[in-house]
């Protein structure tokens, strides 16, 4: 099964900020049990979104520059980016349904 894209400080700009489609980024840490649980959800989401949005994750300990750049003060933090801008931020674990609802809502705004 396809997995979410793994981001680093080095490829964040290219893969997220310069992406031609919206990108959902999960800022996570290995010591964070809710983050581990979100991994499964993101993989399911990737399948469900079927390419309309990119799904990616970035480890905040291994990539502290990006974490600082986006003021990550708790994990998991999930940010939806579009055209290089943050358009929505969720903090804490979320169910797949909650994420899908958020994405649908934001996509309507983007298209409008």
């Amino acid at each position: 099964m396809e997995k979410p894209l793994t981001l680093t400080d080095k490829n964040f700009e290219e893969e997220v900020l310069k992406s031609s489609i919206p990108v959902l980024v999960d800022f996570w840490a290995s010591w964070c049990p809710p983050c581990k649980m979100m991994e499964v959800i993101l993989t399911e989401l990737l399948f469900q979104l079927n390419g309309s949005i990119r799904v990616a994750k970035i480890n905040v300990d291994q990539n502290q520059t990006s974490a600082a750049c986006f003021n990550i003060s708790g994990v998991p933090t999930i940010i939806l980016f579009d055209e290089g801008r943050e358009i929505k931020r969720l903090i804490g674990a979320h169910s797949k349904l909650q994420l899908v609802d958020m994405i649908n809502e934001e996509m309507i705004k983007i298209k409008a």
């Binding site: 400080d9 840490a29 290995s30 010591w31 964070c32 049990p33 809710p34 983050c35 581990k36 649980m37 979100m38 499964v40 959800i41 905040v60 300990d61 291994q62 990539n63 502290q64 520059t65 974490a67 600082a68 003021n71 990550i72 003060s73 708790g74 994990v75 804490g92 674990a93 979320h94 169910s95 797949k96 349904l97 909650q98």
Partner: protein, 510 residues
């Protein structure tokens, strides 16, 4: 090249790595300010790896080398294992500890271990003995060398003696620690205040001391900590028994609002003062991982059974213990012993209690696979280690069927009063997917095969005689209410339907 469950792990998981550079032990109260401050001070905010085995590599990106690529990790049938991996077993003289020592030794690991031989004393205190005779540690180590060519580094240490434990850990510098060094008996903890306090002190304080020692000496080693499915109890809501934590799709709804429970520890409902000690351990280990970036798998083991691994069977001096008394005998082991001497197999109450179980060889495989894929820094995770589940009644019927069919025994089943406080009938839906899905565990479908092996060993005249000598310790006398009396028979079950179902995979014969 074979793909293993740990092929893609990197130095980030490896216990032979010192993390260097900007390691930030933030636990859960991390702050953006701290991130910014670090950046300002150093201009560089990356964590680097330094290999203790290959210091000539200097500092490098910890995610740049996989286990598959690293020459220090070599291929085994259970995934990549560090060459000569240093593994310390706490409680090495016990049923599981000794079995694992031989198992890991034969996989090329450098095995060390401690024990203070308490298990031998506890069983003797209850008036019993291991029905499979075992050698003393000197003889065990001698036989391990002579028969299997293993050098096992053993030290007689009480886990509560933190000074000696620390000294040994400093000397060995284990890369993984398997913690079996606890008193594993619910009835023993329910005898009286002294026993309850003893069990809780030995287990909780012993583990707490170990956590502090690991923090001080080997924070990068993985801790494989033995818990028990009994920590969860049997929730009467009928909700699944998750693997320690709720999945993210588990949602709490209240007052027209909802929250994902993802990653929160599931409620524990321990079923004895012993199980309380295990639940307390869970919280202590969880916190230590959070505070200090220790790494641990908490293994919620189902009821264990069996006598066989190739190594245990290689020489009589290498056998592991086999207890049948009410405090230390596990249920399937006890049933087989009862069957051999014509003692009706004992169900407590209605006998419909459902438990998860796992065979000895499968348990060894699971622990090896966990060692092979060490948790990440700060990672606390839980696995439910079982290969199937069924009611006590069905287990007794399985033992009866095999004993009668293959060994010509006449076996009866009886119901006795239940000395425990527990639901006789209850929902039970355990989740046990992580070991097969994430660690490549393939169960050996061994229940009937292993019961057969147990009968073959226990029907030997010299062992049967040892069971007969201890017939009087089989029935429970320890009541959760505090009473001390032998349980009374409620029913001798006449007609059993051998309705034990079996499928190719999980033996869910409930």
């Amino acid at each position: 090249m074979t793909k293993f469950h740990n092929s893609d792990c990197t130095c980030w998981n490896c216990p032979a790595i010192n993390l260097a550079g900007k390691v930030d032990f933030r636990a859960c109260g991390q702050s953006a300010l701290k991130f910014e401050k670090k950046q300002d001070e150093t201009g560089d905010s990356h964590i680097m790896a330094e290999c203790k085995r290959r210091p000539e590599l200097g500092l490098f990106d910890p995610t740049s080398i996989t286990f598959e690529e690293c020459p220090e990790w070599r291929e085994t049938q259970y995934g990549y294992l560090l060459k000569n991996m240093r593994i310390m077993i706490l409680g090495m003289d016990g049923y599981l500890g000794w079995t694992l020592a031989l198992w890991l030794g034969k996989l090329g690991c450098h095995v060390s271990g401690i024990d203070n031989f308490s298990r031998r004393s506890w069983v003797a205190e209850r008036g019993s003995h291991t029905i499979v005779p075992i050698s003393d540690m000197t003889e065990r180590l001698h036989a391990a060398k002579e028969v299997l060519g293993l050098n096992i580094n053993f030290r007689k240490i009480n886990i509560l003696d933190r000074e000696l434990l620390k000294e040994f850990i400093e000397e060995v510098k284990p890369e993984a620690i398997v913690h079996y060094g606890e008193c594993p008996s619910a009835p023993y903890s329910m005898i009286d205040f002294e026993h309850a306090a003893y069990v809780q002190k030995n287990n909780v304080i012993g583990t707490l001391g170990l956590l502090f020692t690991m923090h001080e000496v080997v924070p990068e080693a993985s801790l494989i900590k033995l818990g028990t499915m009994g920590e969860y109890g049997t929730p009467l809501t009928g909700r699944p028994i998750f693997e320690g934590m709720f999945p993210a799709n588990a949602v709490l709804k209240w007052n027209n609002r909802e929250w994902s429970m993802g990653g929160e520890l599931t409620p524990r409902d321990p079923v004895s003062f012993y199980h309380c000690s295990k639940a307390q351990d869970t919280f202590n280990v969880y916190e230590a991982c959070k505070y200090w970036w220790l790494r641990s798998y908490d293994v919620m083991q189902g009821v264990i059974y069996g006598v066989y691994t190739d190594h245990l069977a290689a020489d009589p001096r290498l056998r592991t213990r086999y207890d049948i008394d009410e405090a230390f005998g596990t249920v399937i082991n006890r049933y087989v012993a009862q069957a051999v001497i014509g003692f009706p197999l004992t169900l407590y109450g209605k006998g419909e209690q459902i438990r998860g179980f796992i065979g000895l060889e499968d348990a060894m495989q699971c622990i090896t696979r966990l060692i092979a894929k060490p948790p990440e820094p700060g990672q606390y995770d839980v696995v439910n280690q079982m290969s199937g589940y069924c009611s006590m009644r069905k287990l007794a019927e399985t033992v009866k069927k095999i004993g009668e069919k293959d060994f010509g025994l006449k076996i009866e089943i009886q119901r006795v009063e239940n000395p425990r406080v527990e639901a006789d009938r209850h929902p039970f839906e355990p989740i046990f997917n992580k070991l097969p899905d994430e660690f490549g565990f393939v169960q050996s479908d061994m229940l009937e095969k292993e019961i057969h092996r147990m009968f073959a060993l226990l029907t030997r005249p010299e062992i049967k005689k040892r069971i007969e000598e201890k017939e009087h310790v089989i029935l429970p006398k320890t009541w959760w209410s505090g009473e001390k009396k032998e349980v009374e028979r409620l029913e001798l079950i006449k007609n059993n339907n051998h309705a034990v179902k079996k499928n190719g995979k999980a033996v869910n014969i409930n």
